[in-house]
C-alpha cells in the first residue's frame, strides 16, 4: 500500500462546556484499511468522527487528507472532500425509492431525473460491491440491513473515499453483519478506507485491520488487529487501573427487596431486549449493572419501574408479586426510578421546580393541589440538597445538568422509597455533581434502601456497588462481588464471556 495515509488526524482536542470530549487524539487511517474506533460510550468516538465529517471544528489539532492539511468547514465540505458517513439512525426518506434517496441532494443531475439511467447506474454500483438492492424499491419496504446498504451506496455515489460507519452492526442480524463486512472488504480492496465505530470486541477482532482504542476522550493506543486479543482490547477499553476505593466490603444484607425471576421483555422495535434475567437486591445493598450501552440495561430498568411490560417471568417487590402492576402501583410500592432521560421523562423541562417536585407525589391527600405546602416543601428541599436555581418558579430547563439531577434525586429520596433504580445517574455531570450524586446514593444504601445502579463506568460501579451483574445482549453473564472481582473479569463478561459457574450468585 502507499505510504501516504488516507486520513490523518493529529492531536485533536475538542472541548465542550465542562468536558473535554477529545484530548489530543491522533488517528491514522490508511488506504485499503478497515480501521476500528473502539471505546465505551462517552469515550469520544462520536465527537472525533463528527470532527472528521465537518460537524464540529476541533479546538486544536490538524487533519490531513492524503497528506494535505485540510480544514473541514461543514458536513457538505467534508462530503465534497470524499468523507462519507453512515449514521446509526438512517437518514432516508421512507416513502421514496432507493434511487430517489440516492439522488437526493446529488449535484449535477439537472432538473430532469432520468430514472432508468440512474437505476442502471445504481445496479452497476451494487454489483461492483457485491450488494443486492433493488433501486426501484421504496425504503419502507426494505429491511434494516438493506437500508444500511442504501446509505452506503449513497455515500459512495457522492464520491466517498473514506467511509465512516457508526455502530453499523447494532441493528443487524449476525448474517447481515457478515455480509456488511464482506462489502467493506471489497471497498477497501478498491482503494477506499473504512472507519468503523464500535464497542463490540468480537466484531472488531473479526472484521478489521487496525484498532484505535479511545477511553475518556484520550487515545489509549493503536494496534494491528491480528496482534490483538479480546483480553487486551477490553483492558484498553475499560482501563488498566481501576481504583477500588470502597468504604466497606462486608455488608450485612437486609431483607430481599427486589426479586426478578426469569424476566424477559421486548425493546421498542419489538425484539427481545432482556432475556431470562434473574436477580435480587436486598435492603442496604447496591447492585451494579455493568454492560456496554444498548445491551438491555435501559429496558431492564423500565421493566422494574413498570414502564415496560413483562413478557415472561415474575417480579417481586418486598415479597409481593408486582409483575403486572401499573406504574402508579409500583410508585406506591416504593419503587423509585431515576431515568436515563432526565429532561422529558424524569423532569418536565418547561415546568418549574415546584411542579417537578410534586410530579409523582401530587396524588396524595384529596383532589386539590395544596400549592402553598408544596412550595414550602420545594424550597426546603432546594436548600437541604443545595440545589442552585434562579427561582423555584422558573422552568427547570434553565438549570444546569448537575442541579437537575440533584432535584430529581431529591424528589425520589424524599418519597422515601424501598428500591431506587438509577440509570446512568452520573452521565453528563461534572465532577462536583458526580460526587454529590455518588454520596446521595451511598447514603441511601446506608439508610437501608435497595439500589439498582446502571452505569457504563466500571470505576463508578466498583466504587459504589456491593455486587455487579454484567449484561450482554440482554442476558446476565454473571454476578460478581465487587470486592473480589477484577475489572478484567467484568470487562470480559461485558464482551460476552459467560462467567464460570464457580461463584454462586
Amino acid at each position: 500500500m502507499s505510504s501516504m495515509p488516507m486520513v490523518e488526524m493529529v492531536s485533536i482536542t475538542k472541548r465542550f462546556p465542562g468536558v473535554i470530549a477529545n484530548d489530543s487524539v491522533s488517528i491514522k487511517v490508511n488506504t485499503g484499511e478497515i480501521h476500528a474506533l473502539l471505546g465505551e460510550n462517552g469515550a469520544g468516538k462520536s465527537t472525533l468522527m463528527s470532527i472528521l465529517t465537518g460537524l464540529y471544528r476541533p479546538d486544536e489539532g490538524e487533519i490531513y487528507l492524503r497528506g494535505l492539511k485540510t480544514e473541514l468547514s461543514s458536513p457538505k465540505d467534508a462530503a465534497n472532500k470524499g468523507i462519507g458517513m453512515v449514521h446509526q439512525h438512517f437518514k432516508l426518506v421512507k416513502s421514496f425509492t432507493v434511487a430517489e434517496n440516492i439522488m437526493l441532494g446529488l449535484k449535477g443531475e439537472g432538473m430532469i431525473i432520468d430514472r432508468t439511467s440512474i437505476e442502471k447506474r445504481i445496479r452497476e454500483f451494487c454489483q461492483q460491491y457485491g450488494m443486492a438492492v433493488d433501486p426501484a424499491a421504496k425504503i419502507w419496504q426494505l429491511t434494516v440491513g438493506e437500508q444500511q446498504r442504501v446509505e452506503i451506496i449513497k455515500a459512495l455515489f457522492r464520491g466517498a473515499e473514506i467511509l465512516i460507519l457508526d455502530e453499523p452492526t447494532a441493528v443487524l442480524t449476525p448474517q447481515e453483519a457478515k455480509d456488511l463486512y464482506k462489502t467493506l472488504r471489497i471497498m477497501t480492496r478498491q482503494g477506499k478506507a473504512v472507519i468503523v465505530i464500535s464497542h463490540k470486541l468480537s466484531e472488531v477482532l473479526e472484521g478489521t485491520d487496525t484498532v484505535t482504542v479511545l477511553r475518556g476522550g484520550k487515545s489509549v493506543g493503536t494496534v494491528k488487529t491480528e496482534l490483538a486479543d479480546e483480553q487486551e482490547l477490553s483492558r484498553m477499553m475499560v482501563g488498566r487501573h481501576i481504583a477500588v476505593s470502597r468504604d466497606k466490603c462486608l455488608i450485612e444484607k437486609g431483607k430481599q427487596i427486589l426479586k426478578l425471576q426469569g424476566i424477559s421483555c421486548l425493546n421498542n422495535r419489538g425484539q427481545l431486549a432482556v432475556q431470562g434475567i434473574s436477580l435480587d437486591i436486598h435492603a442496604g445493598e447496591i447492585l451494579g449493572i455493568a454492560g456496554v450501552a444498548g445491551n438491555g440495561q435501559s429496558e431492564l430498568a423500565e421493566v422494574i419501574a413498570g414502564l415496560r411490560s413483562v413478557e415472561e417471568g415474575t417480579k417481586y417487590i418486598d415479597g409481593v408479586n408486582h409483575t403486572q402492576s401499573t406504574i402508579r402501583a409500583l410508585v406506591d410500592a416504593g419503587v423509585s426510578y431515576i431515568p436515563e432521560d432526565r429532561m422529558g421523562t424524569g423532569l418536565v423541562p418547561s415546568l418549574n421546580a415546584v411542579d417537578n417536585y410534586v410530579l409523582k407525589s401530587y396524588k396524595k391527600h384529596g383532589w386539590l393541589m395544596d400549592w402553598s405546602r408544596v412550595k414550602t416543601q420545594t424550597q426546603e428541599v432546594v436548600e437541604r440538597f443545595s440545589i442552585k436555581l434562579a427561582s423555584i418558579a422558573s422552568p427547570v430547563k434553565m438549570m444546569s445538568g448537575g442541579n437537575l439531577q440533584k432535584l430529581l434525586l431529591a424528589r425520589e429520596i424524599m418519597a422515601d422509597p424501598r428500591l431506587i433504580v438509577a440509570v446512568y445517574p452520573m452521565r453528563g455531570l461534572d465532577v462536583g455533581a458526580m460526587e454529590a450524586v455518588r454520596k446521595l446514593l451511598l447514603a441511601q444504601r446506608d439508610a437501608g434502601k435497595a439500589v439498582l445502579l446502571i452505569s457504563e463506568e466500571l470505576e463508578e460501579l466498583f466504587a459504589l456497588s456491593d455486587r455487579i451483574a454484567v449484561l450482554h445482549r440482554g442476558e446476565i453473564m454473571g454476578i460478581v462481588d465487587s470486592c473480589t472481582a477484577t475489572a478484567e473479569e467484568v470487562g470480559m463478561m461485558m464482551a460476552g464471556k459467560r462467567m464460570l459457574e464457580k461463584d454462586a450468585m
Binding site: 458536513p75 402508579r328 383532589w367 393541589m369
Partner: protein, 360 residues
Amino acid sequence: MLCNISSLRFEKREDVSTTMILLVPILSVFCGLLFAGLFIALTGKNPVDVYMLMFEGAFGSQYGISETIVKAIPLILCSLAVALAFRMQLWNIGAEGQLYMGAFGATWAALSFPEWPASQLLPFMVIMGALMGGLWGLLPAIPRAYFKVNETITTLLMNYIAILWVDYFVYGPWKDPKGLGFPITAPFSSGAILPSFGITRIHWGIIFAIVAVVILYIIQNYTKWGFEIRVSGESAAAAKYAGMNYTRNILLVMFISGSLAGIAGMTEVSGITQRLQHGISPGYGYSAIIIAWLARLHPVVIVFVSVIFGGLLVGGFSIQTSGFPAATVAMLQGAILFFVVGGEIFTQYRIRLDRKGRSL
C-alpha cells in the same frame, strides 16, 4: 444544513418574557386589522371608517352590546372546550361539529318531551347536549389514545359529518311541516327555551359560560387532574413516568372538551333559534381556536377575547348595510389568526443572523 454564507437562524428563547406574551397577540391583532385594511382600501372605502362603523355596531349601543354578548356566549364555551384540549396538546379542531351534535342532542330532548316543564326539560337538554358533544369529542380520542391517530385531522373531518347529520334531520325527519319548506324543526315548546334577560337576547347560557370559566380555572390551577393535564401536555413521557393515566386522560379531556362545545350547541338552539335549523353556527367552533390561542388558553382571558370576537361578528353584520359582505369578518379573523400563529414564532424563538455556518 448549514452553509458558509451568512444565514438567518431561529434560536429558541430560553425564557419567554411576560411582555412578549402580552405584546405579541396585541400586535398580531393590530397587524391583522392592518392587513385586512389593505383589502378594504382596495374596494375604495376608508378602512378606518369601516372599522369605526364596526366598532359602533358592536359596542356603540345597548342593542349592539347585548348582541355582542349573545355571540360571545357560544364563543366562550367553545374556546374553553378547545383550550382544555390544547392544554394537553390535543388539537381538537372539532368544536364546531361538537357544537352541532350538542344542538342535535338538546333538540332531540326538546322534541321528544315537549310537555315537560322547563325545570326538568332544560337540565335534560343540557345533559343531552353535553353528552352528544362529548361523544363526538370522544370518538376521535379513542384512535388517538390507542393508535396515535392524528386527532387534528379526525376532529376536523368529523365537523362535516356532524353538520351534514344535523342537515339530514332538519331537511328530513325533523322538518317542520309548517315551516314553508325551510330546513328547520318545529319551534320548541316553552319548557325547552332558555329564559333571557329583559328585552335582550342574552340568555341563561351566559351563566353556563361563566360557571364553566370558573370551573375550568379551578381545574387548571388548583386540581390534581389539572396538574396531570398540564404535565401530559408538556411531556407525555413524564406523565407516564409519574404514573399518570395518560390514555384515560386523553379520553376524558376530549370528552369534556366536546361536552363544553355541546353545551354551546344546546344554548344556541334553546336560547337563540329556539328550534334546530340549518347552519346554526357561523363557525363559532373555528373562531374558538383563534380565541383560545390569543388568550393563551387562560379561561378568564378567553372571556375578554370572546367578547371582542363577538363584537367582530356583530360589527361585521352592521357593515353589510354599507355594501360589505359578512365574509369580511371571516377574512379579518383569518388575517388575525395568520399573524397570531406567525407571532408565536417570535415569542418562542429569536432570530439570529449568522455570519459563519457553525453548529453548536
